[in-house]
């Protein structure tokens, strides 16, 4: 399967040139770009690990691409996403987020159904890889 979190997951994987243009768009809006990685793809895993701090006050996307390259060299077998923060009053949150690196194999999720009272079902979604400890999930 292919996890479709983020803004561009239904498109073919973005090339570095395409990623660079999106970063430039974010910087031009005055947003701070952040690199995050994880090997826990659960849809409600909000807090991916941060690769350093969000990059404030940048003008050129090249610096982000450099950091992304380093992150990929270290965590190339994990999911890596870029997100951009808008500090404007009334938003003060993420403005865009998209996956820029994914594991070669994405085994997907198990859906467990616990039959409860009446016809109620309690659903639990868990990534097949999550049975293994962090860092050993995608052979990375």
């Amino acid at each position: 399967m292919r996890i479709t979190q983020g803004c561009f997951s239904f498109l073919p994987d973005l090339t570095d040139a395409q990623i660079g243009k999106q970063i430039q768009y974010c910087l031009d809006q005055g947003w701070a770009v952040n690199i995050e990685f994880t090997d826990d793809p659960h849809p409600r895993n909000t807090f991916w690990e941060m690769w350093g701090l969000p990059m404030f006050d940048l003008a050129d996307s090249a610096a982000v691409m450099l950091e992304l390259g380093q992150c990929r060299r270290t965590y190339g077998e994990r999911y890596i996403r870029l997100s951009a923060f808008d500090s404007s009053h009334g938003w003060e949150s993420v403005k865009i987020s998209f996956i820029v690196n994914r594991p070669k194999q994405e085994p997907g999720f198990r859906l467990e159904r616990q039959e409860a009272d009446s016809r109620n079902i309690r659903y639990t979604t868990s990534a097949y890889v999550a049975d293994r400890p962090e860092g050993e999930r995608y052979g990375g």
Binding site: I3, L11, Q18, K21, Q22, P41, H42, K95, I96
Partner: protein
């Protein structure tokens, strides 16, 4: 227009008998509205031979303290404070016989945090007043002091996005079709296919409640099976608007509680349940971490005609105060009413922290929302993937684009329909962010994206000639430089 003060003051004001409204203190052309006043703008069409000033003063009177005759009991009150004051009357540009009347109301005339009270005052009696042919409430200025007494949207755009983990693009939805007749099991099938194919949301239609073909519990149970299965298949958070509209509040709470118990992230209500019920559900939604979708069922009965009724921009303002998270606000390009600039005005009311007066958008007043949460506008009705560039350009990112027929009617099936919409959307956002001119290049961008996506190719082919080009009935009346009343 005429700025003469005709107010009778002192003892003569309270002589028993009938007196013109404009003489009773409801026409005060030298009045400057206070920052805390609520201001209403009415479009007044007086009966033939009725003085427009007198008609406008009557609107002020009948929507505040007046009755048809002088009453001495006014003298037991601070009557001058409680009188609504019409302070300006302008002829409507290009509409003979119609006048814009600006009326200011003191804050003390209203109960805190109550749309029922606000609307009972402003539109309670006066719309049936005989000396008027027609009356329309065009816009309102809600002072910060009053805005702050309302909860506002239960969730708001920012928190909704955080909860759903979806940023940087419009959300995608579809209304399940046919809207009537599917069993719960068949209905859930449509939900599953659409969500798995790439939509974020599916939606009950306004009249899907609990009918012989599908009891509400059946629908909820099968829909949540579909939501969870699609979530596991995609790794994304998914939702379906479970309509909790019912005959009584007790029934609605029961349905909402069941939706919550099943783990739904969103429930929906119809505008026809009434303002008090809407505010109750908004409070319930805030308490229960639930997104609240509002379908504006019924609004066109009073919003669409220019001369009489209530403008949708006023309804949108009331709903932002009342506390819903989603509101249908028009598509411009789809099958339902929507002049582009007027619709732009509605979207601004939903999404901005401050609305500057903009006559060409039908927005007559500066409106400060005092950090009240933002509402997500929903574009629904007759839209399809081939219009993606126009939709993104006109409506922006913070909107739910709902393709009902445009998903379910896809020749290759519902999943394919959903995928076509999602691919078209992502391709368009990508291109816009890259700096491409999507209005001009939109069709080419879609064709390029379709090279990697057969469902999009099929969608572009089947709906290529569909558009709804009719004249709008509700458009702003303004002149570039507003005429100053003489």
């Amino acid at each position: 227009m005429n700025k003469e003060i005709e107010t009778v003051r002192g003892k003569d004001r309270y002589k028993a008998g009938v007196m013109q409204y404009k003489k009773m203190g409801y026409w005060e052309p030298d009045y400057t509205p206070k920052d805390t006043d609520i201001i209403a703008l009415f479009r007044v069409t007086p009966q033939d031979g009725v003085d427009p000033i007198e008609a406008s003063a009557a609107v002020a009177g009948e929507s505040s303290t007046a009755t048809w005759t002088v009453v001495w009991t006014d003298r037991l009150t601070a009557a001058e404070k409680y009188r609504a004051k019409c302070y300006r009357v302008d002829p409507v540009p290009n509409a003979p016989g119609q006048y814009f009347a600006y009326i200011a109301y003191d804050l003390d005339l209203f109960e805190n945090g109550s749309i029922a009270n606000l609307s009972a005052s402003i539109i309670g009696n006066v719309f049936g007043f005989k000396p008027l042919k027609a009356l329309r409430l065009e816009d309102m200025r809600l002072p910060v002091a009053y805005v702050k007494t309302f909860q506002g949207p239960a969730t708001g755009i920012v928190v909704e996005r955080e909860r759903l983990d979806k940023f940087g693009r419009p959300l995608l939805g579809a209304t399940v079709k046919p809207k009537l007749g599917l069993s719960g099991r068949n209905y859930g099938r449509v939900v599953y296919e659409a969500l798995k194919g790439g939509l974020d949301f599916t939606k009950d239609d306004e009249n899907i409640n609990s009918q012989p073909f599908m009891h509400w519990r059946e629908r909820y149970l099968y829909c949540m099976e579909a939501v969870n299965k699609a979530q596991a298949a995609s790794g994304e958070v998914k939702g379906t608007y479970l309509n909790v509209t019912a005959a009584t509040m007790e029934d609605m709470y029961e349905r909402a509680e069941f939706a919550k118990q099943l783990g739904s992230v969103i429930v929906m209500i119809d505008l026809v349940i009434g303002y008090t019920a809407i505010q109750s559900m908004a409070k319930w939604a805030r308490r229960n971490d639930m997104i609240l979708h509002l379908h504006r069922a019924g609004h066109s009965t009073y919003t669409r005609q220019k001369a009489h009724g209530v403008s949708f921009r006023v309804i949108a303002k009331w709903m932002r105060l009342a506390g819903v998270d989603h509101i249908h606000a028009g598509t411009v390009v789809g099958k339902l009413e929507g002049d582009p600039l007027t619709t732009r005005g509605y979207y601004d009311i939903c999404r901005e922290g401050f609305n500057p007066a903009q006559l060409e958008h039908g927005v007559f007043f500066d409106q400060d929302w005092a950090s009240l949460n933002k509402m997500m506008p929903v574009a629904s009705g007759g839209i399809h993937a081939g219009q993606m560039h126009q939709l993104l350009d006109l409506l922006g990112d913070d909107v739910v684009l709902q393709f009902g027929g445009g998903t379910i009617g896809h020749p290759m099936g519902i999943q394919a329909g959903a995928t076509a919409n999602r691919v078209a959307l992502e391709a368009m956002v990508l291109a816009r962010n890259e700096g491409r001119d999507i209005v001009q290049e939109g069709p080419d961008i879609l064709v390029e994206a379709a090279q990697n996506c057969t469902p999009l190719k099929a969608a572009l082919e089947v709906w290529k000639d569909v558009s709804f080009n009719y004249e709008s009935t509700d458009t702003p009346d303004f002149v570039a430089t507003p005429s100053v009343s003489a």
